[in-house]
Structures are given as C-alpha cells and as structure tokens.
C-alpha cells in the first residue's frame, strides 16, 4: 500500500464514522423539524429516500412545513423555556466561576509535589457517575434532608427550608456537577503562568490585588473562557439536573425536549426544539472552539 493510500485510509476511518454518526443525524433532525406530524409519527419511514429522483425530492420539499416552528412561537411555554435555560445556565456559570477560580488558584499555588494529587482529586468526581452525584443531592436538599437537619441542629433556622424542587437546587446541582470542567482549564492557565511577572509588578509598586487584576486575571482569560463555555453549553440543554432537583416550575429546554419526545411523542416538534437549541448554542460553541484552537497553537509553539 502506498503512502498516499495509507494516509487516505487513516483519515477516512474516523472521518466517515463522525460524518455518519454525528453530522448526518443533525441533518435528519433538521429535516424532520419541517415535517408534518402525521407523516413523521412512528412507525415512520424517511420522507426522503436516497434513491428518489430530483423531481420527487422537489415534490417532497414542497411538503415541508414551518408548522412546527410556528407552533413553537405560538405557545409561550417554549420561549420561556429557552429564556429560563439561558438564565439558569448563565447564573450557574457565574457561580461555578466564583467557586472554581479560587480553587484553581489555590491549587496552582500549592507546593509542586501536591499539585498532581490535587488535580487527581478534581478529576475523580468526574469519573464517578453524573447521575449518582445529582442523586446524592436529593438526600441532602430534601425538606427532611441532611442540610435542613444540620441547619436546625445549628439553630440557624427553626423551620426546614424548601430547597429541593426550586431553581436554587438546580443551580447547586449544575455548579456541583460541572465544577471540574471549570477548574481544570483554569488550573491549566494559572499553573503555567510565569510567577516572576507578578513579582515584577509588585516591585514596580503594584499592590497584590492590583497585580492580580492587571496580570493574573488577563493571563488566565483563555482558561476562564474555556471553563465558562464547558459549563454553560451543556448546562443550557441539561435534562437530568432540572428533572431530579428542579420542581415542576423549573423550565429548561432540555427537559421540554425530553417531554415532547417521550411523553407527547411529537417528534417533529421535538426536532424543531432541538434545531433552535442548536442555533442558540452555535455562537458559544464557535467561541469555545476558537479559544481551544488558540490554546493548542500556544501549546505546540
């Protein structure tokens, strides 16, 4: 086998796999979001057959309808779900940054021989099940749960607080589950920072806080962007956390999609919800990829 053929084969295997199982499915979602409910309900066959001629394709294109998207605009439920997902994801991201930054900073300042262990301890929860970690919070946040028992024992509160089934429980769940995603890129950025820059700034008369704002913070910006995107993007479409910790009032678009699909069995509307969600996420994903590419360049240089 020649070098060119080998090269071609090497590229083709993962490329084709991703095309078939990642990219093509999105086109199917997109296509079905334009179908009418009666032709798309299971058991359903693809509206488009690959063997169809051009004329048949055109005929079928004419059958495509915007009904599902109109439906989404008519029921305020969907608009509110998108808005509330963005809000919940945004607040959770800010909270994760507020907790994750000091943690990553502390880790990066830890004695060198401790750092691998600390990184390992951040990664370990990531290996343990996401579902289990969310589930663990149910026992803590319930009205008769451990947190309320503890606070009552301390004497801070007389009556148990209602935390579970509120948005606050969802914030806690998201921050908790995605914290490693925030900490690791931040740590990577802070750890490789040249300490002498801070010393130089302090020598030149900066206070420690000013040195932090003028040097550490800007230099850690790629880590901040990567961490925030890694938390924000999946949080917008989150299903498990709002379903287990949130109440019936907690509207999130991932959960709406799930209900639309599994309970209402309305596949075209579920596809339309997914298409819009994807459109909303395109901008954050592009930002994330841009910064990823830039950090990779910086690494290889």
């Amino acid at each position: 086998m020649g070098a060119a053929a080998r090269r071609w084969l090497l590229i083709a295997i993962p490329y084709l796999w991703l095309l078939i199982f990642f990219l093509v499915p999105f086109f199917l979602v997109f296509k079905i979001s334009f179908s009418q409910t009666n032709i798309a309900i299971p058991p359903y066959l693809p509206v488009f057959e690959w063997t169809d001629g051009f004329a048949v394709w055109m005929e079928k294109l004419r059958q495509l309808s915007l009904d599902n998207y109109l439906w989404l605009t008519q029921d305020p439920l969907y608009f509110n779900a998108y808005l509330s997902s963005l809000k919940i994801a945004f607040i959770s991201t800010v909270l994760a940054l507020a907790i994750g930054y000091p943690l990553a900073y502390g880790m990066a300042r830890a004695p060198a021989h401790w750092r691998p262990l600390l990184v390992m301890l951040v990664i370990l929860p990531f290996w343990t099940s996401f579902l289990i970690r969310v589930y663990a919070w149910i026992g803590i946040l319930r009205r008769e749960g451990l947190l309320n028992q503890f606070l009552q024992w301390l004497g801070v509160i007389d009556q148990p607080l209602t935390i579970i089934n509120t948005d606050i429980a969802v914030y806690i769940g998201i921050v908790y589950s995605y914290l490693p995603f925030m900490v690791l890129p931040l740590y990577a950025a802070l750890e490789r920072m040249d300490e002498s820059l801070i010393e130089a700034a302090q020598d030149l008369g900066c206070t420690r806080l000013a040195a932090f704002w003028k040097i550490t913070f800007p230099l850690s910006l790629p880590g901040i962007v990567a961490g925030c995107m890694l938390v924000f993007i999946p949080a917008v479409g989150e299903f498990v956390i709002p379903d287990l910790l949130g109440g019936s009032d907690t509207l999130m678009i991932g959960r709406t999609l799930w209900v639309e699909f599994f309970s209402n069995r309305d596949w075209p509307v579920a596809s339309a919800v997914a298409t819009l969600l994807l459109l909303i996420l395109v901008v954050p994903i592009v930002i994330f990829q841009y910064y990823q590419a830039r950090t990779r360049e910086a690494d290889t240089r």
């Binding site: 991703l18 900073y105 300042r109 599994f262 969600l277 290889t300």
Partner: protein, 272 residues
Amino acid sequence: MNRHWSGFNIVSVVVGFAFLYIPIILLIIYSFNASRLVTVWAGFSTQWYGEMLRNQALLDAAWVTLRVALVSATAATLLGTLAAVVLVRITRFRGRLLFSGMVFAPLVMPEVITGLSLLLLFIAMNLDRTIFTVMLAHTTFSMCFVAVVVQSRLVTFDRSLEEAAQDLGCTPLKAFLTVTLPVIAPAVIAGWMLAFTLSLDDLVIASFTSGSGATTLPMRIYSQVRLGVTPEINAVCTVLIALVTTAVIIASVINKRSMVQRERAEQLARAG
C-alpha cells in the same frame, strides 16, 4: 520559584474539595443505614447490599451496561486514537476544519440533541433499537473524548524516534506500534477508561437509542430514583463509586510505575 501558598489559598482549596466530596461521602455512609428512611440514621447494616444482589432487574441492567461499556470503550479507543493521529500528524487535507469541528463539538453538545439525532438516524437506517444501537451511540460520543486525551499526549511526542525506526527498516505501521504506541499508552489507557466510565454513566443518550430489551443501569437507577430515594440505590451507587475509584487508582499506579521504569531504562541507555 517563590510560590506563596497563603491561608486564603488553603481555605479555598479545602472548601472547594469539601463541596466536591461531602455529597459522595454522605451517600456512601447512608448506604450502610439500617433504616428504610434515607435521612434517619438507625445503625450500621449491610442489608441494602443484599437487597441489591437479589434485585434481578438491577443485575440484568448492570450486565447490559457492562457489555455496552466494554464494546463501546474499545471501539471508541481505536477510532479516537486514529482521530488523534490524524489531528496531530496530518495537518493539511481537504475538510480538516470540518473534521476537527466534528471531533470537538460532541464534547459540549447537549446530550438530548445527540440522543435525539442518533435515534432519528437509526430509524432512517431501519436499525431496530437494541443493545447494538446503544453501543454505536456510545462509541460515537466517547471517541471524541479519547481523541482529545490522546491528542494532548501525541503533541509532545518526538516524531524523530518514529522516523529513526523507519530508517532502520520498520514499516510505518510497525514503527507506530512499537515506538509511538508504548509512549502514548498511558493516554490511550486513560482514554479507554474515560470512554468506559462515560458509557457506564450515560442516561440520556441510552434512553433515546435503546430498545425495550436493553435497559441500562443508569436508566434503571433513574426510574427508581423518580419513585423515591431508597437505600438500595445508595448501595448500587456506592458499589459503582468503589469500582471506578479502584480502577482509577490502579491505572495511576501502573502509569507511575511505567514512567519510573522508562526513566530507569533511559538512564541505563545513557550510561551504557
């Protein structure tokens, strides 16, 4: 380098880790609770582990999950390593931008979208939803995680070693297998383990892509959790946590030992 580990730093690290670990530790403690009420402590007991072992539906689900995870992690490691090699070694080809986009996008894609889109694909392909479709789905999203892990290791690999092997008569494949692969092996193993745990863990994508005969453990846990918290589920979760933690610790020990051995071998080579 004068790194200053101040009191503030120590406090933020301790608080951060307490937040990360207290829920898991509480879950483990309460799996040994004698009471059926999850939040009332009534003495030490292992009865829930017994209940768990008698629950046939749970054991069946665990067996399905294990098979899915083994197959999909292995397939994902092969595909992901290939993808990493392409990303690092072949810097110019038509469609590279699309390729790298497809490798990185699944890392952040909301699971409901991935799940829904794969389901629609399987239906368009006329594939019945079985354990096999879950394996295909898991392979796809975990190969991207493997690719990222292996890529970061491959970037630092000195390519001249492989070229030297080829000059000495190795075929490119043999040079890769005998020179490069042992060096990047820790990353490949880490990638496999990551793919394995991602597969063990996945609820959303499995729910979309599995048929009636293929209920995975997370799907079973989820449906049981929705009915209410039971200590039996705490026991299942504790077993899973113990398994994964042990695996991670063993892997890191092996990794460290192989690094020490390699350093020794290098020192010997220099001395000799």
